[in-house]
């Protein structure tokens, strides 16, 4: 049933992504600007799949140093101790706050990894023209958009610990090399989610009916 309902684009209309005015440009391939809000009209986000893939691959590469390098280095009376994201989670767990450890584990390890897998799957499904599970894929996209920001949690934790624990020479905390990679993973996956156009999920038609334009 869902495959029979076609998008506005296939009927020659363009929906403004800024103000949602539906208009029918004279030349569908060069729609120009929205008459209401003046934004540049595009039928689908420009090179959506290519940009999303590029950002996902870049984030996946940076995910390795983000987890391998320390995010915090604690200096106590001359002795240094470095924590990666995982050892930070273990520290929280050992100190009795298993609930906080779980929150940080989910936000810092599972959400970024889940986003990379989900966005890769969504891009692949669009490129292959899959027509099944459209509702599930649309929900997955919204989930990625909704929870992506929570990965920034560990960056904020590190920033406030560094800001507060500056009692030189007794004890001080410095940011490690990993924190910038981790921040980059979060920002790049958020940009990847923004560049993916969810309307592409609905553009494919079942092969039995053939492709309509």
């Amino acid at each position: 049933m869902s495959a029979e309902a076609l998008g506005a684009a296939s009927a020659g209309y363009v929906s403004c992504t800024t103000c949602r005015l539906l208009s029918r440009p004279a030349q569908p391939d060069a729609p120009g600007y929205c008459p209401r809000c003046g934004a540049r009209l595009v039928r689908r986000r420009h090179r959506s799949i290519e940009y999303t893939w590029a950002l996902v691959v870049a984030a996946a590469i940076l995910y390795i140093p983000a987890n391998a390098l320390p995010v915090l280095t604690t200096t106590t009376l001359g002795s240094e101790e470095s924590d990666t994201i995982i050892t930070g989670v273990i520290f929280l767990y050992r100190s009795g706050s298993w609930f906080l450890a779980l929150i940080v584990l989910v936000a810092s390890v599972m959400i970024p990894l889940g986003k990379l897998v989900a966005l890769g799957y969504l891009c692949l499904s669009v490129q292959r023209g899959w027509v099944r599970n459209n509702h599930d894929r649309a929900k997955l996209y919204h989930l990625v958009e909704l929870i992506g920001r929570w990965s920034m949690l560990d960056v904020f934790v590190d920033a406030f610990i560094v800001a507060l624990v500056q009692l030189k020479p007794l004890m001080s905390v410095e940011p490690g090399a990993g924190v910038v990679y981790f921040m980059a993973v979060v920002v790049l996956t958020m940009l990847a989610a923004q560049s993916f156009d969810p309307r592409l999920i609905w553009d494919a038609h079942p092969p039995a009916r053939g492709r309509h334009g």
Partner: protein, 222 residues
């Protein structure tokens, strides 16, 4: 450029064109295909978000100037503010991270509140000039990067982690951030940016017509 009646819109998530029926105050409409919410008719689309935004602006100023938390260990004390978190990152050589923290914690929420406030003040007297649309675009750009709720959880985790090493005291800043999180969520729930477009003068010079599906459009003398 030709366009169909204003009550016909394409779903922003699946592009299905559909006509939105008149909605009761407080009502919303879901897409016939992908079931996402595509239209809302907040019962009080201007005054209520305006009051919340003014409150958010005041709380934002308090949250950014008062100390978030203090620490005392072996007779020494230290406090930090929101911007202090970014500043120390910068001083320790993580400049890029410092910029990201400052943007998501201070610039984006502040920009969002400021732009929404200006938009709401401007649309009270329709037709609003076209630059209101630009402010609305800036607000929409800032919104995903405004991470007050994530920061609040981050502050709490940091508090608990530091409390293993030294005595920490929550400051006024934390409570202000908590109130700001609630206010920003309330603004998101009561402010419908698509309502604003029905009040703004068109880029091609057309004056806005009464909004067909919220029936809250500008009343322009004929």
């Amino acid at each position: 450029m030709a366009h169909p009646a204003l009550d016909t819109i394409a779903c922003p998530d699946c592009d299905l064109p559909q006509t939105i029926p008149p909605l009761p105050p407080g009502g919303s409409a879901r897409c016939a295909r992908c079931h996402e919410t595509i239209a809302r008719n907040p019962s009080d689309p201007i005054q209520r978000p305006l009051a919340l935004t003014v409150a958010a602006a005041i709380v934002y100023l308090i949250a950014n100037t008062m100390p978030l938390m203090g620490l005392s260990a072996v007779g020494r004390e230290a406090t930090t503010t929101i911007l202090g978190g970014a500043q120390q990152m910068w001083l320790e050589g993580s400049e890029i991270t410092a910029v990201a923290v400052a943007f998501c914690a201070v610039v984006a929420p502040g920009g969002y509140i400021l732009f929404v406030l200006s938009v709401l003040l401007a649309v009270r007297k329709p037709p609003a000039p076209p630059w209101v649309g630009d402010l609305l675009r800036f607000a929409a750009f800032m919104q995903p990067w405004s991470m007050n709720e994530v920061m609040l959880l981050g502050i709490l985790v940091a508090l608990i982690k530091i409390s293993q090493l030294a005595e920490v005291v929550p400051g006024v800043g934390i409570f202000s951030v908590g109130i700001l999180v609630v206010l920003l969520a309330a603004i998101a729930a009561t402010f419908d940016r698509h309502m604003v477009w029905t009040h703004v003068e068109w880029a091609d010079g057309t004056l806005p017509a009464a909004d067909p599906y919220t029936r809250l459009g500008a009343r322009i003398p004929a």
